[in-house]
Subunit: 465 residues, 3 copies
């Protein structure tokens, strides 16, 4: 099913170079500095329940495509807000198999085939005919010790895996992992949306909890910022090396102290309007950059997603159901307040992501090719496809070079897809470098260095791992 030459250029000269490059990175450990796996998996090390729960229900790439073709989310057993989740997992699996053709040409296809072959030894394409047999095989394997989370973590050769966590999280699972004596390195990431985005569910209560957890008086802006600092320190004490910020836009602000305090009071009053809420988020990006300048946490900004675009789906099924849609995103003017203050810093790394690929050549590569603090994150979300990764290299490298980028993020909740995602990224980088060498734009000895840097060195450096 998996050809050893997959994703390499079909032109033999470039392919041969790509293959040689790939040979040197194929077996390197996986470094996963940004993702959404559940730390409880590694703390508890329980078996995954069934193939549908492992592959389909947590993977919005999969169920959004099925939904787009008229398959109901109910029939796929997607959990509903009212607690219902009515679907026989075996039937869910059959639906997936029947519609597996929909994924032709998509990265999901590459990831899933890889997981089947490499993890389960299943070498034929999933079809309606073999669906039941595959379900049986997978179910049985998932019950074995070799398919427990920690065993898979080790089998996948993961050197480090970062999760994404609320500042209000006790990080109990991270503590449990550390205390368990297991050697797997699983790190928290500080993601403060719940106490910065006034539209977040339970926002005011969240801030009050933040104050309570840190013994800071959150009635003042200063106390609120101190509380955040304390939680960052707590995350750092458990190994965190990065923060992450998911905002609607890349807008930043740098208000004077009085204006910032007044704005915070409006926000805290619960009576703020959308403009004030957006300004507050903008101000907080700059504050967070300031804290990173102090404590060294790598800062990630993920802007541009319009969340929960489908009202009916949101009302019935809640967040993260494949209905977040990218929107045009402006960086140059938006980031200026933050960059005026911290752009020339070399004390921390600020990694920018985008869902608007037109910004790579126009805004992001020119910014990252100048400001010392900036680095470019890898293609995000819908663009973590072979074509998307290639477009990233083709539009960013010429202006930002390789060394203002930070390697790959798998960015997934779908644990079984992690090795495959890294494999795709490595292959695409080798394909790009193979072409560069074949076109005599880069010497071959350099390409061997670059591919090591892209796979390992730049990630470790950018995320301080």
């Amino acid at each position: 099913m998996l050809d050893p030459m997959r994703l390499f250029p079909s032109e033999p000269t470039a392919r041969a170079i790509a293959e040689k490059l790939y040979d040197t990175v194929r077996d390197l450990p996986l470094i996963s500095p940004h993702g959404h796996t559940d730390p409880a998996w590694f703390a508890k090390d329980e078996a995954f329940p069934n193939p549908a729960a492992l592959f389909i229900q947590p993977d919005h790439y999969i169920f959004r495509m099925l939904y787009s073709q008229g398959i109901t989310l109910e029939s796929l057993g997607i959990p509903q807000n009212n607690g219902k989740q009515q679907a026989d997992p075996r039937e869910v699996w059959r639906i997936f198999a029947k519609h597996y053709y929909l994924f032709r040409g998509t990265p999901t296809r590459l990831w899933f085939d890889y997981a089947m072959q490499e993890n389960f030894g299943l070498k034929d394409r999933l079809t309606p005919e073999n669906a039941d047999e595959y379900y049986e095989i997978l179910s049985k394997k998932l019950e074995t010790p070799e398919f427990r989370p920690r065993a898979l973590f080790e089998k996948f050769n993961i050197e480090v895996l970062s999760t994404t966590d609320s500042p209000l999280d006790s990080l109990e699972h991270h503590i449990a992992i550390r205390e368990s004596g297991w050697k797997g390195r699983v790190l928290p990431t500080f993601r403060p949306d719940s106490v910065i985005d006034a539209e977040f569910k339970g926002f005011i209560q969240n801030i009050e909890n933040l104050g309570a957890m840190t013994h800071e008086s959150i009635v003042s802006y200063k106390g609120y910022l101190n509380a955040l600092r304390k939680r960052r320190d707590y995350f750092i004490s458990l190994g965190a090396t990065a923060t992450d910020h998911g905002h609607l836009t890349a807008m930043t602000a740098d208000l004077d102290p009085g204006a910032a305090e007044a704005l915070y009071q409006r926000i805290l009053s619960g009576k703020s309007n959308p403009e004030e809420q957006q300004l507050f988020q903008a101000q907080m990006l700059t504050e967070m950059a300031g804290m990173s300048n102090d404590d060294g946490l790598t800062m990630q900004i993920h802007p541009g997603s319009i969340r929960n675009h489908n009202k009916q789906v949101y009302e019935k099924f809640g967040r993260d159901k494949g209905a977040d849609i990218p929107s045009p995103t402006e960086y140059v003017r938006s980031l200026r307040p933050l960059l005026s203050k911290y752009g020339n810093s070399t004390k921390f790394n600020l990694i920018l992501f985008t869902l608007d690929e037109s910004t790579f050549s126009r805004e992001l590569a020119p910014l990252a090719g100048h400001y010392p603090v900036l680095r470019l994150g890898p293609p995000w979300w819908f663009h973590d496809s072979p074509e998307g990764m290639m477009r990233f290299r083709e539009t960013a490298t010429e202006t930002a070079g390789f060394y203002n980028t930070v390697g790959f993020n798998d960015d997934t909740r779908a644990f079984l897809s992690i090795p495959s995602r890294h494999d795709v990224a490595r292959r695409v980088d080798c394909a790009f470098l193979g072409r560069m060498v074949a076109e005599h734009r880069l010497d071959e000895d350099e390409a061997f260095e670059v591919v090591q840097d892209l796979t390992v060195n730049l990630v470790k450096k950018a995320y301080k791992l």
Copy 2:
């Protein structure tokens, strides 16, 4: 002149696969669900007057390029608003031949060469030297029965051809075609701009005519909507399966009934301002989606063209003179009102087009890869080129797959270019699939299925043909 391998990758492995794929679709019937041919041609079946009138004067791709290089529209015999059209068609043809080099690298070149060779047996490139000879040959052929519209329709192996028609059109030519006993399937498409766009020439009178035709009282919004429903039914009775909507933006609205009625009254008063007119168009897109949800007509939205950008050309020559220019187009926020109401419907298909290619990966593929009602139309207008089609596949497939797309539209007034346009589209799809197979991202057996789907099955399904 036409190489059998044209448009396939030059790399031999990918080329060989592309060629094999193409062999299976080359001779399939043409399905043309969206275009601008004149139904009168097929009703009357009269000879086309001369080569210039057939190839040059109706083809804005051709005369806009000539105009851009300083050739006057008068000298090309483009009809003027004052009724004048002064140009010897033979001289027009000579001008075209003399400047044929301007079309190097453009799709026009591919289309024209194909028409010359495949329809007229002329195997040398058009030059100033052979222009007169070619004119003679073409003129003579056009007088023969084999070059009448119906004979060409059959020779082209067109299975179905949709035209674009005003709701005020009696559809007399469509009726005549049906009553003639001729087997050619020519269908109307419901395009209501003339009674929805308040800037349309004669707008108020158009609405009054709409009322008169349907015996509905258009003084109320309800009566206006009923009148539109009746005309849709009339179109359906004559075979229509789709509507088409050409708006400046993709803006939609979902006003409450009182606000919608009040807005309609403003519009009907003739005193509305541009904002009200735009809001009315936005509201009408949602109304039209509702009607499609009831009657099943496939709905097409073509937004983003700034019409008649060149004031001097418009004043002298009128509409459709190559001076419509694309503009940045936003979909995610604009479509939300409509999608909130009908986005989860599986009762009709809503096909989105764009002139802003940056939206494919950012907005359109993510939307179409989620909402059941949505499908992506093929590259439109300036982008129906080999490069444009390839960019479409490369940016849309990864997120929307193949199965949220709808095959090809030739979208033309230039009847003789139809087979060539389909040929180019089929070749580019084969080139894309050939590369995917050569890079082991798709199995060869699947590619054979996909190319059939892209050429025939998806079109028929999307347009209910």
Copy 3:
């Protein structure tokens, strides 16, 4: 170091065609109609001081990349506003050599390697190990007569080189070149930002100087316009064939005479606000187009750069320090006032540039493929890379053809990089044409014509050289 096949497709068929095409243009003279070399170099013909001053300190591509990785501008000897410039050029060179790996995959790498090999005979890649040796070799060569500006100009086979000059410039160096008897053709270009952009340093004084130089009373708008006309005539008398306009946006306006006069008075009062200043610039683009319509100077518009984005760098080091960042740029609505007045003119050429590549297929190619006055400038600034040039051909050719483009601009202050930049452009055009021929989209005999046109004929025609 330089492979003869560099930048050509690795696929042998396309490569062979590209190579044959390149053979016919490799040795053609360089035509450089837009750039930023210093006319004093050619007037005085003095030796360049040292390798760092020649290669590093004037090249913002180089020092911005180094800066982005934490290397201070001070350590690179970039001149400071306070007059300081503290760095041993040998040490600057070492820093560059040590970080030369940062330029992998960037055009800078291609340009620099070419200059080393072709001009200095240095065939090994620059490394920390050979840095000192190379510095010595370069230093010695720079002292020889063969490396004086005029000798290099001749060695580079430059047929014509345009500089960029203020209307307030006496053009003394241009006069000196003419009077020297040297045959090198160096022409001024009229760039009036300093008397049009109210934010320009010394703006009011500049206008007063303009009046004094021309004996026009600049207290009235009419006098101001007359003064500009006189300076254009002066530039023309010294060989100028073009103007250049660097604006934040592509906005144009066409005010009635009274409004224009009133706006000018506001601007001249020094009390204008940013909106008024922008409107004035917009109005002036249309006025300049009118003057070009009279005097025939080719007009270039370079919009979209946000200048001096990095406040700290600007305050310490001033303009042009690699901190100009592109921003989204709209053309279709912005240019309409100007195009309504002069778009149908065939009396001058208006060349549009962009830093926003999404506009090529969406706006610029459709505009240039229609309006007689318009032509598309080559990829500008960050996009004058192999990938950027290829994207330009791929997105512009299908709609604008080759003949609405104007060949290559090297657009540089880095004199030694000029031959290399032209070489890269010629190779990429050959690569594009080679692929077109290999895919049978263009006949081989035509490709030979096109590559001549792109290299020589279109440039001369567009810039009236």
